[in-house]
Symmetry: C2
Subunit: 420 residues, 2 copies
């Protein structure tokens, strides 16, 4: 494969075909038929190039990282090694939760290229489904399954200290992506930054208020420290609704290039926070055809069910493996059911509060930071959009500051309703 | 140096001389004079062999790790790679605080051997000085300096994320020593373990009570998680009063073989916890010659001064470097003195509570766990010893459970006095 002995973008179709032909793990997925290949670049994400390759006898997706951030350009360099960590995480999480992670067929470190299962139509990005007002009855079940399995099994509740520390060490290598999160989630929204933007002029005062809110800055500092220091589990690292592809019966989590050992609450919070953003955006999409009431109710129910199912499944895994290799809570110490319940309740309460904290940070940054969400962006009328965004922003600010007072996800849902 | 191309213990003096002769960094410290060398093994520690080498024209110390825990024997294997991490920490901390860390002359990874400055008499181990009822007027000044500099400069208050994560990754390699701490500090005292011991029969009920105290077990689980997961700074990892050598004018910290990126409070707590143990042991050493009253007062004063000076120096370093490379609190965000003071107060309060938590864990394990402290062990009368130990144990249990209620070190000192 001398032609690909050093990195080159596969933007040219002929080159792509050549690459696939020379890679048995890929060509076999196409039944070695290359005559009528349809190759389409579909990367609507912020960072990478994604090619769908469909032939008469099979299909696959090629994702390739480039040495900068796609949506910004070469002025913001970013290691293409991220493809390695994405692959590691896809494989690890895929092993733990095969039903909800696409299979990796092939990885090429030199080319920063992943070959994986094509999530064929009707799979669409969850965010787009939510914007269209669609509902997904199995979503809470599936996403709680994914989060419970991936987070539990990569934590010290399941790992030995030895395995944990060596995995932590390896994912320390994904530091550039961690730094990017630190900047765009925990820093930029709270200061003047060239990359920040918001629905101006409507939210000028709101953005300024964020930058001048001492209490908020105190809270976000604590969350940032936890993000930087706490190696609790192998987290996805970018688990918003744009990293989930869905049909009515299937839920698939893609794009874990930000994966590293970090706090569990960052994943759960990112996901729930993006559902809450979707909720607040619905008002902006309501029209005479569809008032979005059912959809909004479904989102609130899904938020509640996702956390409650997650908690239930996580604790069930804990109970199932309580005599296993995990070194966090030794059975000889946590040796009676009253005590075990006590530590589990404390663990889940702390994780719940972390989730609310990180979730609110992720909401705030999507309204006054660099990367916005299509849920709001697709609301054409700027004033109407700003109204939705302001409600979400105010809710997120309150949630970050008051998160420790919330006892249950039902309390959170009630508070969301209160905003209306 | 073919003779030393693989690991061998240097227990034989002739071999030791041969080794030194073949190692310029060591032989030069002896002025290349080998005729009248005095070689003495003085390892009174639990893990390694320490040789003092004194000649007519110089001196040095050789510390060698062996592949098991010395005080237990070959039945408890322990990686001799610990010498590598000890050297890394001695050099890093020595660079940050040269006045209080002995210079490393030489490190041999194959031989697991460190050559370092001989801390010549009247240097003695601080613990032994405290047992003898001696006082050290500069101790609080020096130890607060050591802790403030080593902890601040290896945290994200000073490091970039990039430097931090790569250092964290490297010290993940010291996992066997971390596991040992997890076991003997956070686990064994709270369960039946063959290695546990206590002053029997006097403390039989007390040891049992620890094993049956659900609230205590809940708290120690939280501390253990923080120890395992939180890469806050390069900590010494074994900072008890047996890892400090002192004279009236000099304070030197040795033996950081447990070093890794962990919570700062583990170091500060280990040190203060051991001072508190010393305080409670004094009653057992009081006699007609010396009622230990002055010494006890000095210990309490030193506890207070150590924390207060540490806090002052730590915050001063923070202020000095607030526009530096550290990525935890960006100056553009924490941009007014009111806010900066707010985050600093929160940071120091959290660190204070971590310190009290880890300090109490370290106290408890020294009374009902495998490794005891000479402060108590040297009290001949078992009943008298048990009385001292029980007071310390009860204080530690209370402190672990109630630590978040303490506002200042003065409150802690008052609570210690209350035990009397
Ligand atoms: N396995 C796949 N099957 C089908 N479509 C995919 C697949 N992976 C990615 N895509 C499409 O490509 C888009 C970008 O992929 P993503 O992994 O999110 O890239 P980025 O890292 O640039 O955000 C997704 O939003 C989705 O539409
Ligand atoms: N640099 C030194 N100078 C003088 N004595 C030392 C020095 N290093 C160690 N020692 C002596 O050796 C003993 C054991 O050393 P230490 O490093 O604590 O070993 P261990 O890791 O086995 O606990 C110390 O208690 C001290 O008496
Ligand atoms: Mg994406
Ligand atoms: Mg399943
Ligand atoms: Mg991505
Ligand atoms: Mg020692
Ligand atoms: Mg030691």
């Amino acid at each position: 494969m001398a032609a690909f002995s050093e990195f080159r973008p596969l933007s040219d179709s002929a080159l792509m075909v050549e690459y696939i032909k020379s890679t048995p793990a890929l060509s076999s997925k196409l039944g070695d038929q290359f005559d009528d290949l349809d190759i389409k670049e579909v990367g609507d994400g912020n960072l990478n190039f994604v090619y769908i390759v469909v032939g008469s006898s099979g299909s696959l997706v090629i994702k390739q990282a480039i040495p900068y951030i796609r949506c910004i350009g070469e002025s913001w360099p970013m290691t293409k090694e991220r493809a390695y960590f994405e692959t590691r995480a896809l494989r690890e999480h895929g092993h733990l939760c095969p039903d909800h992670v696409p299979e990796v067929y092939h990885f090429d470190r030199t080319m920063c290229l992943i070959g994986m299962r094509y999530l064929e139509p009707p799979h669409i990005i969850l965010r787009k489904g939510l914007i269209a007002g669609l509902v997904y009855p199995l979503l809470a079940e599936h996403m709680s399954e994914y989060m419970a399995h991936t987070l539990f099994h990569t934590s010290l509740l399941y790992h030995t200290t030895t395995d944990h520390k060596s995995a932590v060490a390896e994912f320390c290598g994904n530091v550039e992506l961690c730094r990017l999160t630190e900047q765009v989630v925990f820093s930029d929204p709270y200061k003047v930054s060239q990359y920040n933007r918001w629905t101006t002029p409507y939210l000028d005062g709101d953005a300024k208020a964020v930058r001048e809110d001492n209490t908020l800055k105190l809270e976000v500092a604590e969350l940032k420290s936890m993000f930087c220091e706490r190696a609790q589990a192998l987290i996805h690292g970018d688990l918003h609704t744009g990293s989930v592809m869905v049909t009515q019966v299937s839920t698939q989590v893609i794009d874990p290039e930000f994966a590293f050992y970090g706090p569990m609450g960052f994943d759960v919070g990112a996901y729930l926070g993006n559902l809450i953003l979707s909720f607040f955006s619905q008002e902006g999409h309501a029209n005479e055809e569809n008032d979005r009431k059912d959809c909004k109710e479904w989102i609130l129910r899904t938020i509640g069910e996702t956390w409650n199912l997650f908690e239930m499944k996580f604790v069930a895994l804990w109970n199932k493996h309580k005599e296993g290799y995990g070194e966090a809570y030794l059975p000889a110490i946590y040796n009676n059911s009253e005590l075990l319940q006590l530590v589990q309740r404390k663990f889940m309460t702390d994780l719940f509060h972390d989730t609310l904290g990180f979730g609110s940070a992720k909401m705030i940054r999507r309204i006054v930071g660099v990367a916005h969400v299509e849920d709001f962006e697709s609301i054409q009328d700027a004033s109407r959009r700003a109204d939705c965004e302001r409600k979400a922003l105010n809710f997120a600010k309150m949630l970050m500051k008051e998160r420790r007072k919330f006892q249950s996800i039902e309390d959170v849902v009630l508070a969301i309703r209160d905003v209306q």
